[in-house]
Symmetry: none
Subunit: 402 residues, 2 copies
Amino acid sequence: MNYDRQQLLSEIVQPAQTKIVLLVMDGIGDIPKNGETPLQKANTPNFDKLAKDSDLGQTIPVLHGVTPGSGPGHLALFGYDPVKYQIGRGILEALGSNVDVEEKDIVARANFATVKNGIIVDRRAGRPSTEESGKVVQKLSSLIKEIDGVKITFYPGKEHRFVVKLTAEGLDDKITDADPQKEGKPILLTQPLTAEAKKTSEIVNKLMNQIADVLKDEERMNFALIRGFSKYPKLPQFPEVYKLKAAAIATYPMYRGIAKLVGMDVIETGSTIQEEMQTLKSVWGSYDFFYFHVKKTDSYGEDGDFDSKVHVIEEVDSVLPEIISLNPDVLAITGDHSTPAALKSHSWHPVPFMLWSKYTRKGLSKAFDEYECAKGTLGTFYAVDAMSIILAHALRLEKYGA
Amino acid sequence: MNYDRQQLLSEIVQPAQTKIVLLVMDGIGDIPKNGETPLQKANTPNFDKLAKDSDLGQTIPVLHGVTPGSGPGHLALFGYDPVKYQIGRGILEALGSNVDVEEKDIVARANFATVKNGIIVDRRAGRPSTEESGKVVQKLSSLIKEIDGVKITFYPGKEHRFVVKLTAEGLDDKITDADPQKEGKPILLTQPLTAEAKKTSEIVNKLMNQIADVLKDEERMNFALIRGFSKYPKLPQFPEVYKLKAAAIATYPMYRGIAKLVGMDVIETGSTIQEEMQTLKSVWGSYDFFYFHVKKTDSYGEDGDFDSKVHVIEEVDSVLPEIISLNPDVLAITGDHSTPAALKSHSWHPVPFMLWSKYTRKGLSKAFDEYECAKGTLGTFYAVDAMSIILAHALRLEKYGA
């Protein structure tokens, strides 16, 4: 369709008192091992009971056959065309790490790396502990503060990762990664992609040299790879587009970052599913949309650990009654993409989607898994359409046209 | 997808002798009550028999989750992108009431209303009889004929409703409704939405004053609310786009209006389903596409009258053999949207679709209801794609590309 879904929705969205939970089990979709997917193998009495009263379907996150990163996968679920809105991973990492980003700033993700004779021998510098790398970030912070009038700020991250922020007027993020992406390759400086980005590119390359100089006596963390340069992207905001006051409950920086970008309040939470559940309860009265993110279904998929993925699904199943006891008007359960354990990576497979509300058509499904979803009442649809289906069941959309 | 479906179709449409019936049961889709939808509950031996030889699917009228008005719902079924073509209700009402509308005209819907001390106390003036209100329309017609060179014409409608037409060069329909939409509110004049519409807005406001003056001694019908100002929209025409000579059999002005807009001949008919059936027979030899509209499935849905909706479905089922005995090449049975009795309104739920022809794949379905359609051979598709599926089964589309 040749038009902006969010534009159309914003014209028919109406305020309501209804409450919506969007439970995202990251990478939930899978392919079978010994004839069963993790969703089938898991013992999930609560999902199965819910399925009988729900509408099921399967989503295509970006395009059929296209494997999405977490950014596009989530943006689509939130109703943002993931091809129109392309978000740099730098900004997601920065926002999720509570780095304040202003409009003029450029942020980027950085790795400590080990370099020998100008060749990158370890892209993660032997995976230092977060404590070790934090000290080196402090060293950088104390010795590099400004280059040619551009303020430089470093933020520590997990293990080998950190974030770099450049602050000045007139910076441009259209520059290439200062990272050859592979070990055994020589150091790579950044290059401008447009004439306007020339100055920024020069500053970053000077920064690379200064970092190398500061770190030259470090044994392993003697260099840094910097990539994903990005400015703060302007996205339509949940309160404006959907008239929703939205809370995000997520434990990983990346997902907290995406939620912040779309105008959700990111709630502090503990990292287990039970702790996330307690966080949901604690803010239930203050919001009308709750994005509840479970990371470990994806992590175990990426590890190829089929059995642990099954156990995480069972853990989520066990908190489902607590969510339902909060009495949401709509409960949507899905993933941002599939992460089949056999592939040890994200994949293009359609993603299971289940929606429960008073107004579902229901009647067709007996369990929540890939196959029941493939033949569910909602059919196969683009993930970008999930929000309008959710809003409709929350009675938050007026009729379109006379 | 970023292309014009109708443009593509018009390039591959070929003439044929085949005959097509599009039977629209308005608002047919529903959600279950005591475990059954009206389509499931109804005793429909003829639908069920047809289903075994048909391809079933479910349509999305506008976008997933979006509840369509009757205009967008029908335009989509006729193959017109309902977001690209947004039609004012004024023009639909006017066309359906046999008002001749030229390119320079502006038409609007009007209600007689009761006003006290500048406050609207009854938006329908106590629902006068059609005869009563017709007399008042006559009074307006005899006393208001022209304002500042703009010709004013009034057309009587049902009960409190009538239609106003403004005729002059240079009129513009971008003006707000002269109707606060709610009782207990003060009279509202129209305002221009663009600079070009200023003159039209002034004329309409003068008209409002003159109407108030003419009606000041009426007991109940002492004012008029005017809304839905619209020009005649130019839509691609059925004979050109589809090479179809099309007849519309519909009893309500709205649907007759839409049919006229897309280039169908609107046939005079009685208002029962049996009378519509007789009308179909009487024009069978003269056309190759027949739009057959059944209103009452929607009306009873809007009333929340589940059982009466069931009975209307059974009544349609009973005329099905007569349609089939005419030997159509394609018989498509669907709705323009869902109207669940439990919601008493149009809804966003996918709409059952069944297509019978010699060339269906069939073999999957045993009855015509929401669930059989959800898992049918055609899957879930946008209603705007229905026409190409219909044309294909009527062997009216050439191969695309070499």
